[in-house]
Symmetry: D3
Subunit: 273 residues, 6 copies
């Protein structure tokens, strides 16, 4: 039997929706999987080391990166929230992760960026990974920040990053848009594995969807990462289209890559209501 | 059983070569298929409403668009002809179609544009949908006009268009070029269906060939339409190559996307002969 | 004294606003200036041959191109009008001009296209001459048609065209937009002269403004035409800004290159009111 | 005498190097100039309203934007500093400025971004404004963040931003690089004025140097802002070249746009020394 | 049974590694296969005509192209060698081949260019066939020369060339890089066959690898050649990764397309050691 | 008085047309000017060291580069000639120059490449420095070779090159094309000086014409070299146009950048006549 590629991987956000699936997916890749979250992580496996801390805690975060070969950074606030939450969880938290990587000599970070970093681009523009950032909210703005942070830590400190611009990765279809935006959990695992094992990542951006029929972005510039999705939403089309109403092609949420995020107001206003 | 996506679709050119196949292909997509042509349409089916009129007749054309959800506009002059025919059948006729769409609130038009709208580009340039128009005759010029018309009606009136730049869609191979340019009738149906049902079309241009071995244009910018050809000409290669003489790579008709159309003189001169 | 470059130039639209200035500007370039318009042309000069006819009259138009070295085609409907006017004056009329050029061996056509051929592009996109057509009305649509016609007659019949996408060429500033869009009459003459005398035009598109401070399009691809504007609107800025209200950057007419044309409804609806 | 274009402009960083010059430059453009800084501002003029506060103070910052037509945001940390300083002064501080603009209906922000947002691009790549961010330190990273923030507030809330990627704006030449990177104080004023008064800014990025002989970036995409530098460093070349040693073309600081910033280590490490 | 496409093909380098496989692959395509090499060729088949000569011998080389329909030019020095070897074998030798093609009316040349013609480009740049040359040694420099020679003989003399930028085509994996760079012998045959039979080649460049998981270059611009690889290295991944050490993503040989060629010094220095 | 920038510059081709002017132009830039040619150089100045040798002589060429800070390499065959002349004078000769630079630690080479390296591109394509090579003869092919050689010596050995694609630099106008292609001798000196003194050259390509009215190529990518032409051909236009017949825009020599070189046959055929 082959030795796993990595000795120890740190997975942040391990208690979250994707984190749970990644625990399963990363297991064969490393001898030790260090799983971290702010929330308690259930069902710790023999290969796992569990840590519970807030990413806003710089010291704890840096400590979590000790002895680690690679970081799969899926932690932080997972959707539009107040500025304070995003500042602490995503901006400060990710800075702490990269500082940990730098101080502890971690070679590569795989980061869960998001379609919301470029959510105000239009579908028919078929953008590629070099298109300028156009975040669709504070959440997306924090994703842009971490992408630029990753770029800096590559250019200046030689730490590689693969930024995954994940579209939608959910257990159910709640919107027809998911027929094109869905990344199945299994393809998500394939995407992270490809990002961890690509021979050279430098700083790369990969769009993350399954091999769905409608492709709204151009993944050409990530071909060196070797991500090959195996799933498609076509099998669910009939059921989803029967259940959910069709999109209005004039609606901002249909026009823009970011979907309904572009319809949201400012999260602090929402909170104040 | 699922209700068809559309209540009523208007198909123009329904008596033509492709129209006949589209009648079959569109049937499952709509409750009522309104089929129109200048010529008499044979074998009207129970789901069909037949109309016979000239597209140059503005009033009749607009009337034909009443109560319609989408238009599949394959009518008009199908190849190089006199200026008068092209002006009336394609330029004026298509204007009437779009005016009908505007007056009657039709949401989307799928238009049979043609390779001849860009026929003077060269094969090895591998153009995409943003390349400037280079028509190879009056027929191609009228296709350029209707593409621009569709763009205007999208930008100004919010009517979506998918312009299909069809290469060759014929029952037989009469030229080796068809080995790369052929769009099978079944793929033509797939292409129209994808164009009708794509979640957002805005104004989009799709190149229409089957999944043939040699690809002379780049369809990257139409990935949001979700057209996935299923056929290929490879099965016919041996027979066709045995029967038809090989292309001369220096011939203008081989160099340019438009094929033998670039060899044609002015149609009015031809007529005068 | 040098012999003029051309023996005979045909100027259409010679009674119009720009036509009047071009009569003066073209005089030194040719021995005979054939001036044509639908309206009567006043003050015929000794070097001028005047013709009065409708461009929709094919026979008269073709006859007007006999014995001509070059055509400066500024005739036709000069702004948004009914479909019938545009169809006859611009689409059919320009086709007649090109047929005349073809039948009578005219080497080059300089055509007054318009910003309205690309009026729905946005200012900050800084488009160049290869951007796809995006007309902002029927007038602009006819300009797109004639550009494509010129391209065809170059590719197929070897007749050169310089299409001038003129922004605004008026005697007075009636809109702050003119501070960037204005082409002075003298620069218009320089533009036409450059287009007539460039060593090779092939089919080229030039954006036509003076050397104004704000440049909203990129003229890089026309550098071989050698147009060097000498005027600028800066001297008029203080007066114009004092007199006319500032633009609202969110208004469609400020966002798009086409200005207030994008606010117009369909001309046939307007006429019907 | 003409009324100034603006009633009230807020200038942040007014006590800084560039702020002092901008006070003079902005005076003719507005009736009231609100000058703000963390430090005390000297020699308050009759047209000026002085405010002293820390940008990290959200409430004070938002209050400073009340009643303001436009913001010239030059405040914050002006060079590489500790993460905490940059986080508070530039990231949090600029967020407060944009929140003020949103809550108080300010139409446009002119922001002093920096070459350090793209400092890891190479000189011979001649990048334009669409090149991806490549910050050369935490300072540059904060500039990237504010650019993306400006983009979001334009796309979502309709507030325009002109982001000025200023290269070097200093009173003296301390490095030969300044012969190409210098923006004179007078050109800096011209650049800010152009950015405030351009008819439409949307979200635009302008590279800020004087009209120096060597141009290391391509400002083509900002032509609609109408910035026309009047100064050049050529008059200083002989003196500077005699005084300062020539660049080594292989040195990272010469290869990259960011100059010696690319040689800096992590600021928190430096501080710890 | 169909007559072969070609009467006589000349294969140079027929005794070499790839040449041996191509003898087998080309046999069905031609009636006569003229096999040439500097070394003796073994096991001459009934359909083969064997010639032994040095490509540096102009007269012999030109004579070898007599009566030939197409040339598959795989001869010359196959890797980094002294300047004299490369000058004679690749630069002068290939010039002789093209002169033979010109004098004897050969219609098409298929040339074994190499990744080493663009070896200094970086993997994550995902270059296409229009990227500028960046050779990684004298060998690559000679490949650039022959590509330009092919371009000239197409533009000026109408001889078509398909330049194959082959990555690695070896019987064994001696480097993990081969997992992405390998072109199997069968795919090499497919590539040459496609290049010989494409309806129009003009001057085209094709990247030559199998359908491996990681794609480091963009073959989009060669779609008209119709090369469809059938093999992949995935089946060998486990064995190769277990046997060979992982790449260091910071190593020049991993960063650049050319692999370990970028680590080589000057071949004449090496020879002198 | 300032010390010259360079201690010793080697100028090859010093007895040639441009070499003679460059001797005058380079004098102020260096303490010692080493002038070299195959022919005898007249009127040796006190600051000059004269060498006479054939570039095909490797040993002599390498010796000529000893003790040199920069090389201005204008030697070799200056126009279309036999393959043997071009091979020896340009290909082998330039290789010897670069080997000299490598062995003797010369930092930068300024090379007289030529429009003929890209002579088969068309005027209206407005190519920039990244366009693929399209030589128009053996002379142009050798220029392509030396450009690639310079690229290699930069990428592998760190020697900078500025390749000057000079159009026409002659004392008289013998063709109307020179009105756009001319580089005056004074501008040629400015171009070489800029290339020698640019702060960073890496490997750069500059198009070399004066500031003529018609610009057929795009020099945007060389802005970091700081070449600012001061001359123009406009003052000569009237005289030249009166004397020389106008271009035929359909002629290959007018269509392509290379001018009449594209009309030449193979030089060895010509020689054989």
């Amino acid at each position: 039997m082959t030795k796993p590629r990595f000795n120890r991987i740190l997975l942040t956000g391990a208690a979250g929706r994707l984190g749970t699936h990644l625990r399963r997916g990363l297991a064969p890749l490393c001898t030790h999987l260090r799983v971290a979250d702010m929330a308690e992580i259930k069902d710790i496996q023999p290969n796992e080391e569990a840590l519970q801390f807030d990413l806003a805690d710089m010291e704890a975060t840096i400590r979590a990166t000790e002895g680690v070969d690679a970081i799969v950074h899926f932690g932080g606030v997972p959707l539009e929230r107040s500025w304070d939450s995003i500042l602490n969880g995503n901006i400060r938290g990710s800075y702490h992760i990269y500082e940990g990587a730098r101080k502890n000599g971690v070679a590569r970070v795989v980061y869960s960026s998001s379609v919301h970093a470029i959510g105000y681009h239009q579908i028919e523009d078929q953008i590629d990974a070099n298109a300028p950032h156009r975040p669709d909210g504070l959440y997306g703005l924090s994703k842009c920040f971490v992408e630029d942070l990753g770029r800096l830590y590559w250019d200046k400190f030689g730490i590689e990053t693969v930024a995954l611009r994940i579209f939608s990765s959910f257990p159910e279809f709640t919107d027809r848009r998911m027929l094109w935006s869905m990344l199945t959990f299994d393809d998500c695992i394939r995407l992270v594995e490809a990002s961890l094992t690509a021979p050279r990542a430098a700083f790369s951006i990969v769009y993350g969807t399954s091999a769905n029929r409608h492709r709204m972005v151009d993944n050409r510039l990530a071909a060196h990462i070797g991500y090959v999705p195996q799933d498609s939403t076509e099998a669910f089309r009939a059921e989803v289209e029967a259940r959910l109403s069709p999109p209005d092609p004039h609606a901002p949420a249909v026009k823009h890559l970011g979907g309904w995020f572009v319809d949201l107001g400012h999260p602090d206003d929402e909170a104040a209501k």
